[in-house]
Amino acid sequence: MDEKEQFGERQAARRSFLECLGATVAAGAAAVATGAVLPKETQAAASAAPAPAIPGYDWDKHQWAFGVDATKCIGCLRCVEACKVENDVAPDAHHFRTWVERYVQLEGEEKAQIDSQADPVNIEASGSEGKYRFANRYKDEKVDKAFFVPKLCNHCTHPACVQVCPTGATFKTEDGVVVIDHTYCIGCQYCVQACPYGARFFNEKLKVTDKCTWCYHRITKGLLPACVEVCPVGARVFGDRNDRQSAISQFIKNNRVEVLRPETGNAPNVFYVGIDKEVS
């Protein structure tokens, strides 16, 4: 099938360790996609879709979730870099599957100063849009408090992006991941508008929308998402909520977690610890 081959080619080109299994994963992903584009309600789409044909993987047995411990993040931005490389994301300052925000509360100021690695000052400091670092721009200021917040797609339980997709090209898998079938997306960008978190963007190369998939090609093989894998301080946590001993289950159990913009009703599945009132 053409879809499978195309998808397989993209997968295989990413990393050498994916080469032998890329086609299999791609076949599975394409099968999921083909099943889920049938006209069904958001929820029904996932339950009725055929399971991906990934050896040794049963999507009914997993319920993936993500945790962010903002108190641990040091803003090194390795996660951003790893994501760009792993998922072939355009190396510019306008397309990110994940990014990191910096909140700096200066003494005497009411609101925090916020920037991300995409801020022109930070790009100037790194020397290129394809390199990521936070400039030491507050070194002469009196800082009351400061912290970093990694952001990514929230893989919501009721995703507004899936609701508005006119073709069903973007859908929620049975194991809780919101993905996009790049071979079926028409590129209308209604989902980009609908996402309240700014997690979606237009892939200029493929002419379709794009976003974080929690590295679906990795997690279905028992690997961690690239950003979690490279985080040197364990600020990013990933796992299966069906497994009570998994890192994410423990993270949610042992912390008072919160989600971003709960008022939207989207019910995000990225759980945060250590964020402040201004983070949304």
Binding site: A93, H94, H95, Y184, I186, G198, K207
Partner: protein, 397 residues
């Protein structure tokens, strides 16, 4: 080589992905065109269904205008899509929870309805032309009659019944098509500027005023070009219609804006900053004052003073042009303005204008002009003028 995307400058904090605007000027043109369709059809229906006989001189022009605009409604969308060749995915495998998936059905249904109604309305003319002409065009009319050459009183009564029925079905059709465009924006909870239950209604009323205004402009222009006198009762009727609907539209927009400000939900600080800085010229000056208040004042003054003749024609024409400008500014302020306010509620973006390219201003202008070029051709083949078609109808009867 043209860059793949234009990044928007911003102030404050915006999400990194927001610096590329998902929707540009083509998506401003799209609701404008559907609005003209719905508005022009309203004028046609006011005559066909609601019996506003004074609108008779423009009733058929309204119908063909609606048809010509409708034919080009999908074009801004197709130009915008990343994969236009997959556009039918949304029709063949629609995702029912998506408002946008309904477009193909609404548009398809409505184009068919307009074509059938136009056929019924112009059937007597086509029959007459098919009989009178012996050239290629005559043969074309002959084929277009689809073998239905009966112009007896019974047949004409049947035609009238069909036209009436189609016009009645067309009212919810046209307004549904446009109300749904408003729903596409109003139903999104990600943007405070769009997220309003009133959005579909506002879109609907602004559609009606843009259609009525367009008909006024086309009618006056056609009279000038054809060197016939403007039918004053007809024009005045449209003037009154315009005046009434502009008042309602203004009221609705005011209520929506007031409610948003009064509720003052999260992110309102940025909206207030946006409204009081960037939006002063396009919203308060261009859309509100010049586009809505001025035509209301002009029309009110003329109706109050009982102005007639050339002054009335000129006054209504200017008001109509201003209202058309009002509606395109409204579409711009909604579509582009909504995206200029960051989803973070902590920053503002500046729309990066693109002149050339698939989604540039030139392409959008082309899409906006194309229906009227088609209209020029259509009115030559199917003249919608009262002195031709009605005269012939009468003669044949």
């Amino acid at each position: 080589m043209e860059p793949l995307f234009a990044a928007a400058p911003y102030t404050g904090y915006v999400y990194p992905n927001e610096t590329v605007f998902p929707w540009g000027v083509l998506i401003v043109v799209y609701p404008y065109l559907t609005g003209l369709v719905a508005g022009a059809f309203t004028v046609s229906s006011l005559y066909q269904v609601f019996g506003l006989k004074q609108l008779r001189p423009v009733a058929h022009l309204a119908l063909v205008t609606s048809l010509c605009c409708m034919i080009f409604v999908p074009s801004p969308l197709l130009l915008h899509l990343g994969h236009p060749e997959r556009a039918f995915n949304a029709v063949f495998t629609p995702h029912w929870s998506s408002a946008m998936a309904m477009f193909g059905y609404f548009a398809g249904f409505y184009i068919i309805l307009l074509v059938i109604e136009t056929w019924f309305v112009f059937r007597p003319y086509m029959v007459q032309q098919a009989q009178a002409r012996k050239d290629l065009l005559g043969r074309l009319y002959h084929v277009a009659c689809l073998g239905s050459h009966d112009l007896s009183e019974k047949a004409m009564r049947f035609d009238q019944k069909c036209i009436f029925a189609l016009a009645i079905i067309g009212i919810p059709g046209a307004h549904g098509l446009h109300g749904y465009v408003g729903f596409i924006f109003g139903s999104l909870k990600s943007r405070e500027w769009w997220s309003s239950d009133l959005m579909p209604v506002i879109f609907l009323f602004s559609a009606i005023i843009s259609g009525v205004a367009l008909l006024i402009v086309l009618y006056v222009l056609s009279c000038a070009l054809r060197r016939v006198a403007v039918d004053i009762p007809c024009l005045k009727g449209m003037g009154y219609t315009l005046w009434g609907f502009v008042m309602v539209t203004l009221l609705l927009e005011g209520v929506e804006f007031g409610a948003m400000m009064y509720k003052g939900r999260e992110g309102i600080d940025m909206i207030v900053l946006f409204v009081t800085s960037r939006l002063v010229i396009p919203f308060f000056v261009l859309q509100f004052t010049i586009g809505a208040v001025m035509p209301i004042l002009i029309l009110s003054y003329m109706f109050w003073r009982g102005t007639t003749g050339r002054a009335l024609v000129l006054g209504i024409l200017i008001s109509a042009l201003l209202v058309m400008f009002n509606v395109i500014m409204m579409r711009f302020n909604v579509v582009i303005g909504g995206q200029e306010i960051s989803k973070t509620g902590k920053g503002l973006l500046t729309f990066p204008w693109e002149i050339f390219g698939r989604e540039g201003v030139l392409a959008a202008t082309g899409v906006l002009i194309a229906p009227f070029i088609l209209l020029l051709v259509v009115i030559r083949l199917l003249p919608p003028w009262e002195d031709t078609i009605h005269h012939e109808e009468k003669a044949l009867a």
